[in-house]
């Protein structure tokens, strides 16, 4: 494993009820990279995602993250592993009984010994970063769908994680909010050096921020490369995806 490799997936296969969902999938994601996993419904992208988060049983020697086989972590190593991850779920997955501020502060309160006023400062900063400065004392039930997503992102980045997983971050956001969310993710990568793994279908977003695209089709990786290469690709599913996106063109360098 190269020194700047953050995630290495090697010959990962998975099946549910005799139906093979992933077939010998291998790829690497380097530090400070923004990698997008693409594919149609049932292509296996969520299965890879959940394997990398250890939400499914991971076979030994198939996934290495932070230079460790994630199938072979003891209890304390697991805690360290999860503390270094930020995960942003598509539907927010905020706890309804807590306010937005309490939701975002949860990991800080549980895993650090910071005093309450510092915690409040950090939480308010992160909420401000996702344009939710006024939502500190609101409950998730009082937020719109887009606001829920942003609150979930604030919770995911609360510990400045070196690795951020995002499941459909742009779905349900208006183009302006989506662009500012992309800019925020770029800022986080540039300033904190975090690595981002993202599942998204927003072509504009992919072209704006992705360094690497991993395209899945029926459990097999059909394309790996940069967005520029993807736009020029002759592979039918990849070509189809980008041509039916937004008539996209390459953006200027970021």
């Amino acid at each position: 494993m190269a020194s700047n490799t953050m995630i290495e997936v090697k010959s990962l296969s998975a099946s549910f009820d005799d139906r093979q969902v992933l077939k010998n999938v291998s790829f690497t994601i380097n530090e400070r990279e923004i990698a997008v996993i693409l594919g149609g419904s049932g292509s296996g992208k969520s299965t890879i995602f959940r394997h990398m988060l250890r939400l499914y049983d991971v076979p030994y020697n198939t996934i290495r993250i932070f230079d460790k086989d994630i199938a072979d972590l003891n209890e304390s190593e697991q805690l360290v592993f999860f503390m270094k991850l930020g995960v942003f779920y598509q539907n927010g997955a905020l706890l309804n009984s807590l306010t937005v501020g309490e939701n975002v502060a949860l990991a800080l309160e549980q895993h650090t010994s910071l005093p309450p006023d510092i915690i409040e400062n950090i939480v308010r900063t992160k909420l401000e970063l996702v344009n939710l400065g006024d939502a500190y004392q609101l409950f998730p039930s009082q937020l719109s769908g887009g606001m829920l997503k942003r609150a979930a992102l604030a919770r995911a980045i609360i510990m400045d994680p070196p690795l951020l997983f995002c499941d459909e971050p742009g779905a349900g956001l208006d183009p302006v909010s989506l662009a500012s969310l992309d800019q925020l993710i770029l800022n986080l990568r540039n300033l904190l050096g975090i690595t981002v793994v993202m599942v998204t279908h927003e072509v504009s977003s992919i072209l704006r921020i992705a360094d690497k695209i991993i395209f899945l089709d029926d459990g097999v990786i059909t394309f790996k490369g940069t967005p520029q290469d993807a736009l020029k690709s002759d592979i039918p599913v990849v070509k189809d995806f980008f041509s039916k996106g937004t008539g996209a063109t390459l953006p200027t360098d970021h």
Binding site: P115, R124, T125, Y136
Partner: protein
Amino acid sequence: MKPLKVFDYNNYSYQGGVLYLKNQLGFSNAGDYSNRLRKFLPNIKERNITIDCNQLESIDSAGVAAIYNTVRILNKKGITTSFTAESETIKEKLELFKPPDFETHKSSQKNGFLLKIGDLLYKVFKEHALSFLYLIADISYWTIADIFNRKQRRKGEFVNQAVNIGVNALPIVLVLTFIIGMVISVQSATQLRNYGANIFIVDLIVISMMAQMGPLITAILVAGRSGSAIAAEIATMKVTSEIDALKTMGLNPLRYVVIPKIYGGIITMPFLTMLANVAGIAGGALASYIYLDITPEIFINRMSGVLYQKDIITSIIKSIVYINLIVITGCYFGLRVEKGAEGVGKSTTKSVVAAISLVIVADLIMGLIFYR
């Protein structure tokens, strides 16, 4: 002058109006930094302080929050602050993670006990009392106006509700009132025997069951059984936008959903209550026979002397008032549900608690009216 150390480590020091930050400041040591600095701050004499980040190698959002917290505390004391940082990364992080201006959500002013009670009562009155009265007015209006108008009701819904609220509750109500009648009888038997007043057990059982315990116990059971179901049903309808769908189809949700429940309740509750009274008296009679040797013949003879028409009418009036309170309370909390599964649960709980409380208060008021 020897630098005045803020911390044990050499990571942070203070000298001549300059706070030097060194090495790294982040999640692992920001809490320590803050706590130590708080103790140190009263010793600072200067009016202007520079926070020197030139020797800082790395910082994260916790570090930035801790620095700005220092700035906040110093500014409150009238001490001005400024930053020096050569590293672009440090400068950018100081900018990116700068906390917004906010008023802390913890109130510094502590309210007194009486003030808290006053606030609570005002809140209850403002949030609940008025809208509850409006709902009562609405439901009362439509209950009368819709008696002969079936247009905005689902066909067969009235019978459904009558079965749900009244008929299905019959077994549990009869069993429990029978047991309660026995309990009252057993408890009183010992006392009455001491005075040789065995026969008065009949008066006690009949009057207490007919005028008081029968309607009250029935109402409490129905509140727990049907009141909760009504609240949960309406809350779920609200959460899943079914109530909105009815409105946009030009249907009045109260007339479509609530009024059939009121009719079903009003028709069945008096029968349910009367049957509960009978079961309670039967339970009392059985216990009297066992403990005081009062035979059923003696019991019935005596009962005909103490059972007044007024008690029966009071029992019926009470049952009608109670079922209205139960349905309206269920409907009120169902309609006030907040989003999500948890909201439905909360509404149901609140509805049952409020319905039982209102039934007991109404019992007191009617007791005062009918038995002054």
